[in-house]
């Protein structure tokens, strides 16, 4: 009896491995050995560098990606936006928070997690972790609009097209698709620009150099140098999602 139970447990282990992560375990093992050579895109945000009331990065992103400006907050689409420090880092909140941080708008976007819960729950792999560079991708052709990913994301990074977004786009950028009603969307680290050797639009648009983008696997990259010499935090790191957006305080 005990023997059977033991064999059962042995059999259950790989099953748990499969259902608890989005990547193929074989692929994940390969990825681990190749970890030193492959790219892992990440971003660091120097929150003190943001100018008061500046929305250059947000505007650049919205314009390039045809992000609609929907007035009803319930139907909003957001790729990168700002939220008060206290709400972005609720666990860092204290009665004697530094004055410079109180009510400070902090940029939030998709964290392109190492272990993205959104990709784990997606029933069709319409969202998945790209093995080559770690971007959490969206396939708007395949998304069925079940919104399981929105429930699973601990960062509120995902938006659903409750209505047709087109009427809410002032000037459509013909080089980038809009989305259709009924699919989920989010930041993809400007995957289309990276393919052309460009940096993400928000990073490029920032005149204060508050956003630093680069390869976290490359010890000589700007982002690694910045993180090596400054204190930084991640959002809800305790959940083990491995967020790749860092905040330099």
């Amino acid at each position: 009896m005990a023997g059977i139970a033991f064999v059962g447990l042995l059999a259950a282990k790989p099953i748990f491995d499969v259902i608890s992560r989005a990547e193929d375990p074989k692929k994940a093992a390969e990825a681990q050995t190749a970890a030193q050579t492959q790219t892992k895109w990440g971003m660091a945000i120097k929150i003190a560098n943001c100018k008061d009331g500046c929305t250059d990065c947000i505007n650049a992103c919205n314009t390039i990606h045809n992000v609609p400006d929907i007035p009803d907050p319930k139907h909003e689409i957001k790729w990168i936006w700002d939220v008060n420090y206290e709400d972005v880092f609720p666990e860092q909140n204290s009665p004697f928070l530094a004055n410079s941080l109180k009510g400070l708008p902090v940029l939030v976007l998709c964290n392109h997690c190492d272990h993205p819960p959104c990709a784990r729950v997606c029933p069709t792999a319409a969202t998945w972790k790209r093995a080559a560079d770690g971007i959490v991708m969206m396939d708007y052709h395949r998304c069925i609009g079940c919104r399981y990913c929105m429930a699973a994301c601990p960062y509120g990074a995902r938006s659903f097209n409750w209505v047709d977004p087109r009427p809410y786009i002032k000037q459509i950028n013909p080089d980038y698709p809009t989305r259709t009603k009924g699919v989920v969307e989010k930041c993809d680290f400007c995957e289309e620009r990276l393919a052309l050797g460009l940096i993400p639009a928000c990073v490029e648009a920032c005149t204060e150099k508050a956003l630093v983008f680069g390869d976290l696997n490359d010890p000589n990259s700007d982002i690694r140098k910045l993180l090596a010499t400054n204190y930084s935090i991640q959002r809800k790191a305790e959940l083990g999602t491995g967020p790749n957006v860092y905040y330099v305080i």
């Binding site: 907050p73 972005v88 609720p90 784990r120 029933p123 792999a125 429930a151 659903f160 409750w162 009603k181």
Partner: protein, 396 residues
């Protein structure tokens, strides 16, 4: 056998017509949702699941609850349930079909439903939910229909149905467990991140399913003059009573951990549910109605006099059914989403189209249930007081 559904009294046809009208109205609104998108509902970026998924979750429970009549009859040879097992199985059939429809109408891209089957992802709990629900539907349809058919032709059911019946019992547990796993596996929502989710789901299922069966039996007694017998009803009532008590106990257990440990994020969701958060108090009437119904139903069911009185019994069953819907439907979803991961409190109220579309699905479920029950009554009346299923697992 199916011809039994086409002969009925004036009341039967009036009821069918009423359901068809409800379905037609809801379908009209579904077309509106089809063309305009899910923006016609009250759901939002923060509360991204609403009435549809709430109903789905609840109805998985109703489907699973049917096992409470199947198990005692087949495994413990409890004869009093002989007359109602088919009703239990067909209740599961109607409830699972409703679940599937609720998932479908909740999709942003319903035409891509097929992607679930051509790109299945075993790491998604939704995939497993679809698997277990489909198999459960098939099991109950085959078992219920085959046994009724055997009775209709006066035949001894063949042996192949026995393993199916045995499988259907743990399978009922699995459908609700897997549905609970959809919620309890997400680190993003502390309100759902509890190992107690599956047991809570099961206990409330074992209350809601049999409660609906009590109501259905009393309706059939009144309008179709088909009596399932006092003993079966009383046993069902006891099952509802115990399952309701366990449900309340589980809620207390959950509340203790949250409020005694005082972890702020965990408390914020329960606060929103019970006392309101930052002046937002929409859900308070829901949970307090639910609590009052639970206590009232427990009192009515514990007292033998009120339990044996059909009027108070049906009242208690209705209160259990409604309160379980409040608790596991919107009461599960909305506090889970509120406050949002970024601390926002967004009100959710279902819109008129959303309610009417939901009623469409309930109408379809009621129609399927009515037709299946009509056939069952017809067969059972024709065959008289004969043992409904000449099949047993006990050694005789």
């Amino acid at each position: 056998m199916i011809e039994k559904a086409f002969t009925g009294s004036r009341k039967y046809w009036a009821w069918i017509l009423f359901l068809l009208i409800i379905i037609a109205i809801g379908f009209g609104y579904y077309l509106l949702q089809w063309y305009r998108g899910l923006g016609v509902t009250g759901m939002s970026r923060d509360v991204s699941w609403g009435l549809y998924i709430a109903n789905m979750t609840f109805l998985v429970g109703v489907a699973a609850g049917a096992v409470m009549v199947v198990l005692p009859y087949y495994l413990h040879n409890y004869k009093a349930f002989g007359k109602i097992t088919t009703f239990g199985e067909f209740l599961a059939v109607a409830a699972v079909i409703m679940c599937m429809l609720f998932v479908t109408i909740d999709l942003g891209q319903p035409t891509r439903l097929v992607n679930l089957f051509i790109h299945p992802q075993p790491h998604s709990i939704l995939f497993w939910d679809i698997v277990v629900l489909s198999v459960y539907l098939l099991l109950n349809l085959v078992i219920g229909w085959y046994l009724l058919r055997s009775q209709y032709y006066g035949e001894q059911p063949k042996a192949w149905v026995k393993p199916l019946i045995l499988i259907s019992i743990p399978w009922a547990i699995s459908i609700h467990t897997v549905t609970a796993f959809i919620y309890s596996g997400m680190a993003s929502r502390p309100f759902w991140l509890t190992a107690l989710m599956a047991p809570r789901f099961l206990s409330s299922a074992f209350a809601a399913g049999p409660a609906l069966l009590i109501i259905a039996c009393l309706i059939m007694k009144r309008f179709a003059h088909f009596d399932v017998g006092k003993e079966a009803l009383q046993k069902l009532a006891q099952i509802v009573l115990y399952a309701t008590i366990i449900t309340v106990f589980f809620l207390i257990v959950e509340g203790f951990t949250v409020y005694y440990s005082q972890i702020p994020e965990d408390m914020s969701h329960l606060d929103y549910f019970f006392v309101g958060l930052n002046g937002q108090t929409t859900l308070i009437p829901w949970i307090w109605t639910c609590l009052i119904f639970w206590v009232a139903a427990i009192v009515l069911l514990i007292n033998p006099r009120t339990r044996k009185n059909e009027k108070t019994l049906v009242l208690a069953a209705a209160m259990v059914f409604v309160s379980m819907w409040l608790d596991k439907g919107l009461g599960l979803l909305v506090p889970g989403f509120t406050p949002s991961p970024l601390g926002a409190i967004t009100q959710y109220l279902p819109t008129v189209p959303e309610i009417l579309i939901s009623l469409m699905v309930w109408g379809i479920g009621a129609l399927i249930l009515t037709i299946l029950y009509k056939i069952t009554i017809g067969v059972k009346e024709e065959r008289g007081e004969e043992e409904s299923h000449a099949i047993s697992f006990s050694s005789q």
